[in-house]
Symmetry: C2
Subunit: 402 residues, 2 copies
C-alpha cells in the first residue's frame, strides 16, 4: 500500500467530480460539488446520531439501504437542518435534479449539506450550481469538489492510497471537511471516500461502520456532534478484483486496511484543523477492560477543557489527565495505573514521579504530543485524536459579533 | 423559612469552628479549618465518583458508615490525592490528631483536603494548624473556617436558613468552596452543612444524596469531576424537634426543604464563581421522558463549549443549544421541540422563529441568562447551572506558566 502524492476521489478509476460557485457561500468560493461514478457502485454510509438530524441525512439513510449509488451531491453554506418538511422536499429536489443531470435514478444519489442551521436552502442557486458542477465534471475535478464542501476549514483535507487487493491494483481516494462543530451556526463533518475495489454492499456497510468507529468517531474537537455528520464510501468495482462477499474473504483485510488508512488520515487532519488549534494531541489508553472502556477514558481525557487548556499552555499537568480518566467511568486500578506523556513516565503505580519541568518543557513545546494512559486492568486499547483549546477557540466561537 | 443575613455553620446552635494559617497555602491565608459539634451529630455525606479518589475520601466513607460524627477537619493547599499508602496514613494522622485535640473518637472526625494533586501533605504544619484552629474555635468561627477551605474561589460561599420543623426553631448553615476543577493542579468542591435538627442517620444519608442530586450534581463548570469532591451534613439534634425517623415523618418535607435551599444556594454560588465566568446560565429542560433524560439534555447543553462560548459572546445561538440537546442521547420529538431563551421563543416545532438580533441583544447582555428547552415527549424536567466560557478560562487554565 502506498500513499499517493496528490490524491483525490478522482484519483480512483471511474470517478469524476465537479464543483460550482453558486453563491450560497461568499462569492468566489466553490459551494456545490458533485462526485460521480461512471458505473453503479456499492455504497456504505454512516450518519450523525444527533436527534435533530438534517433533512439530507433522512434522505441518505434511504439511499444507503438500496446498496448501490452512483453520485454524491453536496453543498456548503446552508446545512438544511431544522428546516422541517420544506427542508426534506428541498433535499429531494436536489437529489432529483442531480439524477436528471447525470442520467441516473434519484435513489442512487446521496445528498449532503453543511453550513448555517435553521435557514432554508436557496434552491434556485443550488439547482443552477448542480447544473454547473455537472457541466465541468471530469476525472480532474477532485480538488474543486473538495473545495466545494469546505466551511471554516483552513486546509483542504484529502488523501489517497494505491495497493493490491486480490492481485489487482486498487485505489482509494478520500476528502473530508470539518473542524469541530464550529463557527457561528456552522456544522458538520463530511467525508467521501471512493474506491474501484469490488465488494458487496452489505460487507461494505459493515466495513464503513467499523472504519468510522476507529477513525472519525475517535476524533474530538469540542465534543459537539453536528446535525449533519456523514461518511459515504462508494466502491465501483472497476479494479476487477474478485468481489469481496464476506469478512472471511481472503482479500477483506487488504481492503479494510486501505479504507481505514484513508479514514484515519482524514480524521487526523480534522483534529489538526480544530478551531483555534495550536497543537495536535494523540490520546492512547491501554490496559483497559474492553474497547468501550478504553474509548471512554480516552474521550474523557481528550474532551476535558482542563487537559486541552493545559496542552495549550505547554504544561505537563498529569493530575488533570489522570483525573479525567478517573471520572470517565472506565474501570482502572488506581494503585497500578500509569501515564506517559511524550515518552516520559509522569505517574506510575498511582504515584507522582516528580519529573522536573526542565525535562518536560521541550516535549510540551512540540506541535504534536502523544500520551498513553495505562488503566492496568486488561488488554484493550483505544486511540483518540484531538487538539488543544486556545484563546482563538473562544474568539472564533464567542467573539464573532465584535 | 427565612434566609439569614450573614449565616455560617456556626449560626447553628451547638456548632463551633476555628481556622489557622498553617503555611500550606501562601502566608497570611487560612488553610486549616475545624468545625465541631458540641454533641454527637447524625451525619450524611456524599463523595466524588472519581476512581482516583483522594485518601481523605477513602477515610470519610468509613466515618459516614458509622452514622454519627462530631467534627470536620479540612485543609486547603494540598489535596492528598494520588498519594498512595502514605497519603492514607497522613489522613488517618489528621483524623487522630483532631480527635485528640477535641477529646472525641477518631471515627467521629471527617477529614477533607483540597489543593495540589500528587504532593504529600506537610504533616508537621498541618498538625500544628489543627492545634491552632482548635485553640481559637468558638461559635463565631464560621467565617474563618470558610476561608480555610478556599483555593481559587473569588468569593466566600456561605448561606443559612431558619425555619420551623416539628414546632421547633431549626437552623441550617452551610459553606462551600469550588469554582470548577480549576487552577493548576487544584481540585475540588467541598461543602459542609450543619443543622440542629434531629434526624436519624439513615434518613439523613438518603436526604443528603437526594439534595446533592438536585443541587451540586446539577452544577457544571467545565465538566471535570475532581478527586476530592465531598458534601458533609451534620445534624446535632439540639433543636429538640421530634426525631425524623423516616421519609414518611410529617416533618421530613420541612427538613428537606431547608437542606435543599442551603445546597441550592451554594451550588449556584459555585456556578457563578466558575473560573473566568462573566455570566451565569440556568439551563432548564422540560417535556422530557424522565428525570435522567432531562438531566442528560440539560448537561449536554451546559457542558457544550460551543454553547458556553456563544453565551460569552452574547450570541443567542439557538442552533448550538438544540444541537447539544440532539446529541445528548435524550429522547425528543424534533418536530415538536422548542427553545426559549430569556423569555423569547427562538425555535418552535422544530423550526427557526427568525427572531431578530435587536430583540435578543439586551437579553444576551444580561449577567444572568435562563433558557428552557422543551423536548416535547413527556412531563419530566431538570435544571442545571453553569457559567460561560471566556478568554480568562483559557488564561487561568492554560497560561499560568507565562
Amino acid at each position: 500500500m502506498i500513499k499517493l502524492e496528490n490524491g483525490w476521489n478522482t484519483s480512483v478509476p471511474g470517478f469524476e467530480a465537479g464543483a460550482a460557485m453558486a453563491g450560497v457561500k461568499k462569492e468566489g468560493r466553490y459551494d456545490v460539488s458533485v462526485i460521480f461514478s461512471t458505473v453503479p457502485a456499492a455504497c456504505g454510509a454512516v450518519f450523525t446520531q444527533n436527534k435533530f438530524c438534517a433533512s439530507p441525512v433522512l434522505l441518505d439513510r434511504e439511499v444507503n439501504k438500496g446498496g448501490y449509488a452512483q453520485a454524491i451531491v453536496a453543498n456548503s453554506g446552508c446545512a438544511n437542518a431544522c428546516t422541517g418538511v420544506k427542508g426534506y422536499e428541498d433535499a429531494k429536489a436536489m437529489q432529483a435534479h442531480t439524477a436528471e443531470a447525470l442520467g441516473i435514478k434519484p435513489e442512487e444519489v446521496f445528498v449532503c449539506s453543511t453550513g448555517v442551521i435553521g435557514a432554508f436552502m436557496p434552491m434556485d442557486r443550488i439547482l443552477k450550481g448542480i447544473d454547473d458542477a455537472v457541466e465541468v465534471m471530469d476525472e480532474n475535478g477532485g480538488e474543486i469538489a473538495a473545495k466545494g464542501i469546505q466551511t471554516t476549514d483552513t486546509v483542504i483535507k484529502h488523501t489517497a492510497y494505491e495497493g493490491i487487493v486480490g492481485g489487482k491494483k486498487v485505489t482509494f481516494g478520500g476528502i473530508a471537511k470539518g473542524a469541530g462543530m464550529i463557527h457561528p451556526n456552522m456544522a458538520t463533518m463530511l467525508t467521501f471516500i471512493t474506491t474501484d475495489a469490488a465488494i458487496a454492499p452489505d460487507v461494505l456497510k459493515r466495513a464503513v461502520k467499523k472504519a468510522a468507529d476507529l477513525s472519525f468517531n475517535m476524533v474530538v474537537v469540542d465534543g459537539d456532534t453536528s446535525t449533519n455528520d456523514t461518511m459515504i464510501v462508494l466502491a465501483n468495482g472497476l479494479a476487477e478484483n474478485e468481489i469481496i462477499l464476506s469478512e472471511d474473504h481472503p482479500d477483506y483485510p487488504a481492503f479494510f486496511e486501505m479504507l481505514l488508512a484513508c479514514a484515519s488520515d482524514l480524521s487526523r487532519m480534522i483534529a489538526k484543523d480544530g478551531e483555534g488549534a495550536t497543537k495536535f494531541l494523540e490520546v492512547n489508553v491501554i490496559g483497559a477492560k474492553d474497547f468501550a472502556d478504553a474509548k471512554k477514558a480516552a474521550m474523557a481525557i481528550a474532551k476535558s477543557p482542563l487537559v486541552k487548556t493545559a496542552i495549550f499552555g505547554e504544561d505537563a499537568n498529569w493530575g488533570r489527565i489522570t483525573c479525567a480518566a478517573g471520572y470517565s467511568g472506565a474501570d482502572l486500578d488506581p494503585e497500578k495505573a500509569s501515564l506517559v506523556v511524550g515518552g516520559v513516565c509522569l505517574f506510575e503505580n498511582g504515584l507522582n514521579k516528580n519529573v522536573s519541568d526542565e525535562v518536560m518543557e521541550p516535549i510540551m513545546a512540540q506541535k504534536e504530543i502523544s500520551l498513553t494512559m495505562d488503566l492496568a486492568v486488561g488488554e484493550a486499547k483505544a486511540t483518540v485524536w484531538t487538539c488543544d483549546f486556545s484563546y482563538d477557540y473562544v474568539k472564533i466561537n464567542g467573539d464573532y459579533r465584535t
